[in-house]
Amino acid sequence: MSGIEAQFYDGRTSVPVAVRLAFDGSGNALVSLPAEQRHYPRAALRIHDRIGALAPRTIDFSDGAVAHVPPDAESDRLLDALSGGAGGWVRRLEARWLLALAALVICTVSIAAFIHYGLPALATFVADRTPPAFEIELGRKTLEDLDEGLLQTSELPVERQRTLRTAFEQQVARQAASALTLRLEFRASKAIGANALALPGGIVVLIDDIVELAEHDEELLTVLAHEVGHVVGRHAFKQLLEGLGITLIMTAITGDISGPASLAAALPALLLHAGYSRRYEREADDYAFAWADAHGVARSRLTDLLLRLEEKYNGLSIPNLLSTHPSSEERSRAAATAR
């Protein structure tokens, strides 16, 4: 018979009793209380793992009684042996810094891999199975929201709008392999500046400033081809889904910090989101370059406009990690290579 010191509670009153627990070879327990001796067969015991170096190890008895065994290596050895061959293996994993480091590597690699490969694949899977009607409705709603805040009515002459729209429809939109109907919209916007947007559902918005900044219509057509690249790849919708996925993952990981501290998780999420965004920008650039090649337009039309944009807004530059677009330099390099 081997024994260990423990604090015993009978589960009916709050009286603690210091006892000695004795175990026979098959794990049956004998508890010596002041007034009586209690016998518990092995099957009536639930021996829990000890979690934390200073926390007691608990044993639940089938009649509702509990024993708290103070931390002690000798008792741990005995109780591990009683709870079967694998007893305490998680505790041993948790005890070592080196193993914790290995766990950290496993977590980081698998989460990064999932975010990098799994989530985009999942977003594509879901996007491919979502009826276009849903995405079109989403795009219509988005444009409505934008019109109430960031976007104003275009100040471009109607004639100019018509020319650009015709060029867009005949030279860019018609060749696009997309289940979505492409539609060009003109808007003015102080907040967005010289830019073009691809909304879910096939709406492409051209902001007045970029039309004025362009020195040749081919520049605008390459920009429009870039936006059509976003539409064909359903990037806006996929990004929405990925954002949702990242939020879910962050909640799962940080789930046990309550309330506002989870705001801190917004930062990595922001960085990851920008990363996806840059990936889609490159894809859309590739689409625009392919379009330019097929239509005998110089690839430099797009990068010329981008460089002019950068010159115009030579303000605060955003570090690449936070930026939603690849740098113009990188995009020019991409235009020069990869034919």
Partner: protein, 357 residues
């Protein structure tokens, strides 16, 4: 031997928290890795280990708390909760009108969810071998969770102290240790004071945010014909972070610290459990410091500081609490508890229903 002490001056028994950040980091990361390797199934076991660690590390008058949640019950609860959520979003997607009806249904279900979650949590907690308990007072929950907030909104916030006291009273007076129920004897004054202390901070915060927002829009709009960078979105995000979120978070924590200190320091000492009176003496300054420094630590380490942050917050708050007994504490008796499913708790957790003190 201990019984001879009961005649002398009642002594304050403080909670001692024995957990450390390093230890919890290892527990957290190992269990997270196991959860990932088992595609999420282990998460229920991870939750039990995490809670057992925190409960077992909490000692009051030489006795540790214990958590008895069963991983299988928690796993089942999670599955049901996920199914409910998936069914809800699928239905809401297909029939938007039904979705709106379901939102109302969920809102009406909040008292049930909160009560079930509280029951599960209390019944899975033991101290000195006795389980805690929570009375399923659904009527009280309906009043405290739905009617009181509604009345507060209708009174333009005037009834807020009253509504808060109602919620605490529901939470505390339905809680029992064994078969002994907690009693809360408290006036409205502490809740009025908590509001008066935090109101100036909230107003200051609102001013700060307006100012930050103004500066931000100036910086991003650029003014005149020099509109913002082409990368307006990224740039706006940076300025939102610096000019808007950081001050907002800071003020938020300050308000939270002052509110928590005022309410907890009044509510717990007004709570009795048989011969026992609870004790709590939090400092708003320390609370705010812990919140803010934890946040900075978490952001700078991309989340790795989280376990240390959690242990620091728990240790400080728990060690400010304790009890004073005016009679023997050996005479509490167990009640006959039935089994409680973890469904309410897991739905609550997924939907972020929070009722903590």
């Amino acid at each position: 031997m201990q019984d001879t002490n009961t005649d002398s001056q009642p002594e304050l028994q403080r909670i001692e928290f024995r957990g450390t950040g390093g230890e919890y980091f290892r527990i957290w990361i190992v269990n997270l890795a196991l959860t990932i390797l088992t595609l999420g199934i282990y998460s229920a076991w991870a939750k039990v280990r995490r809670l057992k660690y925190f409960y077992g590390s909490t000692q009051l008058a030489g006795h540790a708390f214990d958590y008895h949640g069963n991983p299988i019950a928690i796993l089942k609860g999670r599955l049901v909760a996920v199914l409910v959520l998936v069914a809800y979003s699928a239905l809401a997607q297909l029939w938007p009108l039904l979705g709106a009806a379901l939102v109302i249904a969920f809102w009406l279900a909040i008292p049930w969810i909160v009560t079930r979650a509280q029951m599960f949590q209390m019944r899975m907690t033991s101290y000195r071998g006795l389980r805690w308990d929570f009375e399923p007072d659904y009527g009280g929950a309906f009043k405290a969770m739905l009617l009181a907030p509604l009345a507060t909104a209708l009174s333009l916030g005037l009834l807020f102290p009253w509504a808060t006291r109602l919620r605490y009273r529901w939470l505390i007076e339905n809680t029992a240790y064994g078969k002994t129920f907690c009693k809360l004897d408290i006036g409205l004054k502490p809740f009025v004071m908590a509001l008066l202390y935090t109101l100036p901070l909230i107003v200051a915060g609102a001013l700060l945010v307006t100012l930050g927002g103004g500066v931000m829009s100036l910086l991003t709009a650029g003014g005149g014909d020099g509109p913002p960078a082409p990368d307006a979105v990224g740039r706006t995000l940076v300025w939102m972070l610096v000019g808007f979120y950081l001050p907002l978070i800071f003020v938020f924590y300050l308000v939270l610290a002052v509110w928590k200190r005022t309410v907890m320091n009044a509510t717990l000492p007004a709570t009795t459990l048989g011969p026992v009176r609870l004790h709590c003496k939090l400092s708003a300054r320390w609370l705010a410091w812990i919140y803010v420094s934890n946040l900075v630590g978490i952001v700078l380490t991309l989340g790795l500081f989280m376990p240390w942050a959690k242990v620091r917050a728990a240790k400080y708050q728990l060690e400010c609490m304790g009890y004073v007994a005016s009679g023997p504490v050996d005479e509490f008796h167990a009640s006959e508890t039935e089994r409680t499913s973890a469904v309410g708790e897991e739905i609550g957790e997924l939907m972020d229903v929070d009722i903590s003190l």
